[in-house]
């Protein structure tokens, strides 16, 4: 796919040139670091439990996942359509899919970097003489990255559908909330088919049930890949639809 990597590189450079990426990284790392210490204290020194909390067991993780990807992706298409740069990209010899995938990859790489701070905690703990469960840590990280990919795809999708970054961020956050809270709401229903349907979109359960336990189950990878591909596809179509407006 020509231009994919060029656009990813450009997006990452654009992210780190601006203050937003650094601010998000700073807040996330500070919060996660402080919380990790807190988790260690409350778990009575159980390192693996604390790491699990950091990468998915706590509500802070999901709050970050709901908020950070939309903030990252909100500008990627909507602002470019307003400044006209999208016109430049869509008349460059790269396909629309490459443009969207390039931006998507950049968002995922950034979020992967953000979650990889968990490895720092692992290193810090192991330097103190307690070996963490590296497999579970890597699995939790991969799960976090896959969740981020899904939410980035949702964010890009929202960004492709509007010309205002704030609207894009808001729309994506709402959609993310629906994704995350659907199982909670389904729990209120006693209809089994509702629960079964919602279980198909239960991101939290898919993350906790496999990756966080250190199990790499392809069906769980496929769950994330399918939903992510769906939203990327919708985003590509939304970019194409801009031409017809």
């Amino acid at each position: 796919m020509r231009g994919w990597i060029a656009i990813t590189r450009r997006e990452l450079a654009g992210l780190f040139v601006g203050p937003l990426a650094w601010a998000l990284l700073f807040i996330a790392v500070l919060l996660q670091g402080w919380l990790f210490v807190l988790y260690l204290k409350t778990s009575g020194g159980d390192v693996d439990l604390a790491l699990r909390w950091t990468l998915g067991e706590s509500w802070v993780f999901w709050a970050l996942l709901i908020l950070v990807p939309p903030l990252l992706t909100m500008r990627m298409i909507s602002e470019e359509s307003r400044t006209g740069i999208l016109e430049f990209l869509l008349t460059a010899p790269v396909s629309d899919a490459a443009v969207v995938l390039g931006k998507f990859t950049a968002a995922v790489v950034f979020l992967g970097l953000l979650w990889s701070t968990a490895f720092l905690y692992g290193l810090a703990v192991s330097s103190l003489g307690i070996a963490p469960d590296w497999g579970a840590l890597a699995g939790g990280w991969l799960g976090a990255v896959l969740c981020s990919a899904l939410f980035s795809a949702i964010g890009l999708c929202a960004s492709a559908m509007t010309s205002t970054p704030i609207v894009a961020a808001f729309g994506a956050i709402v959609l993310n909330l629906v994704f995350v809270t659907a199982p909670l709401l389904a729990g209120l229903s006693d209809q089994t088919w509702v629960r079964a349907a919602v279980a198909r979109v239960d991101v939290i359960d898919h993350h906790k049930g496999s990756f966080l336990a250190g199990v790499l189950d392809t069906s769980y990878v496929a769950f994330f890949a399918a939903w992510t591909a769906f939203f990327v596809f919708v985003a590509v179509r939304a970019v194409e639809a801009r031409r017809w407006r």
Binding site: R2, G3, I5, A6, I7, R9, R10, A13, G14, V17, G18, E80, T83, G84, I85, L86, E87, F88, L89, L90, T91, A92, P93, V94, S95, R243, W244, R245
Partner: protein
């Protein structure tokens, strides 16, 4: 190189382009001219593959823009009006990005970027942030980005909009330098620009091609005749002069615009420059000339006619309402004027002060330095106001010396 046939594009109920067809040969420089909203940008966006056409076919370099879009995009350098560049990047980074998008081999990149920067004269600003560049420099950076892949076709949408006159000249020079290497299609609503740069002009109006040809052709085809303006003292009987002027070979018609002070004004409709013949008659008859000029309708007038749909703007440019500062346009008569026109003559000379002054009789002032001013006989002539501007205003101000003062 570019072949457009029966191109139509609608936005909802609006027909932005309506059955547009034209061809651009390799190496041609074509200017798209039209008022804002005529469909220029839409046409260019379709050519670059950014917008799909509602119907019709567009081929660039032999490729269909819809079906072989990537092939077309590889061959087109497009600079949209908004000059889309990432503000947070340096000029050279922007060029590197473009080089990667166009898959320019890594070892060629540096030299190609240098070449593009050299072409637009930005070599010393390569490390500047795009967001910090002035409008003109940003335009040039955008041009460098468009030129980097060495496109066969260069499409420039309003390349000089928002620039000051100096920057405009620079960009114009740049485009002229590009003529040898690329087929250029540019749009503008500024006529002198198009005339200066493009040997061929396509006038677009309301989504249709209103005219297509060289500026000279368009002038000849659309405007009909040019004319000669003669202002001279032709003696007591202008009918004699009129007859003589009509007898000149090549003159199709002579319009007598009447007296302007002691001079008489004629417009001779003719296709070629007959000033020599008119001058010869004037010399033989001893007419004192004030003006003898050949007036061709400009592209601007043709454009205005197409754009507004008004037909007489080009046919009779002389009768267009003259600015107040032109003394020749103020009708003057010995003995008496119709009150209304006398009032306008006054109003144009000293607006506030004479609005209420009685203007019954107007006399021509024979003082040659008064430039044919009018003065009411009922008002005594006033000597120069000591506070008045220096005498040089007699050249610029209307009727400076003879203006009646209450």
């Amino acid at each position: 190189m570019i072949s457009v046939s029966h191109l139509t594009r609608t936005f909802g109920s609006l027909r932005a382009l309506d059955d547009v067809s034209f061809e651009v040969a390799k190496g041609e420089v074509v200017g798209f001219l039209g008022p804002n909203g005529a469909g220029k940008t839409t046409a260019m966006r379709i050519l670059t593959g950014y917008l799909p056409a509602s119907s019709g076919t567009v081929r660039v370099a032999g490729f269909d823009v819809l079906r072989e879009s990537l092939e077309v995009r590889r061959r087109i350098g497009y600079l949209p009006e908004s000059v889309p560049l990432y503000r947070e990047h340096r000029v050279v980074e922007m060029l590197e990005f473009q080089a990667r998008l166009h898959a320019i081999p890594r070892r060629e990149r540096a030299s190609r970027i240098d070449e593009a920067l050299e072409q637009v004269g930005l070599t010393d600003r390569r490390r500047d942030l795009v967001g910090n560049l002035s409008r003109g420099l940003r335009q040039r950076a955008g041009l460098a980005v468009a030129l980097l892949p060495r496109p066969e076709v260069l499409i420039l949408d309003e390349p000089t909009s928002g620039l000051d006159p100096m920057q405009r000249l620079e960009v114009r020079g740049l485009i002229q330098a590009l003529r040898d290497r690329h087929t250029v299609l540019l749009s503008s609503h500024i006529l002198p620009e198009i005339e200066a740069v493009c040997p061929r002009v396509v006038i677009v109006h309301k989504g249709r091609i209103a005219a297509d040809g060289t500026p000279a052709e368009l002038v000849a085809k659309l405007a009909g005749a040019s004319h000669i303006r003669l202002e001279a003292v032709v003696g007591a009987d202008p009918a004699v002069a009129l007859r003589m002027l009509r007898s000149i070979r090549g003159v199709r018609d002579v319009v007598d615009h009447g007296r302007l002070g002691i001079h008489h004004q004629f417009d001779l409709a003719c296709d070629e420059d007959l000033r020599e013949d008119v001058g010869a008659i004037a010399a033989s008859r001893g007419w004192a000339l004030r003006e003898l000029s050949w007036r061709r309708p400009t592209l601007e007038q043709i454009f205005a006619r197409i754009a507004t749909g008004a037909s007489d703007e080009v046919e009779k440019p002389a009768r267009a309402p003259a600015p107040a500062g032109d003394p020749a346009s103020v009708p003057i008569a010995l003995g008496g004027l119709p009150p209304a026109s006398a009032a306008t003559a006054h109003a144009s000379s000293a607006p506030a002060s004479t609005a209420s002054a009685p203007a019954t009789r107007v006399v021509y002032n024979l003082n040659p330095f008064d430039r044919g001013a009018t003065r009411s006989l009922s008002v005594p002539k006033v000597v120069e106001d000591p506070n008045a501007p220096p005498p040089s205003t007699a050249d610029t101000g209307p009727n400076a010396g003879g203006a009646p003062r209450p």
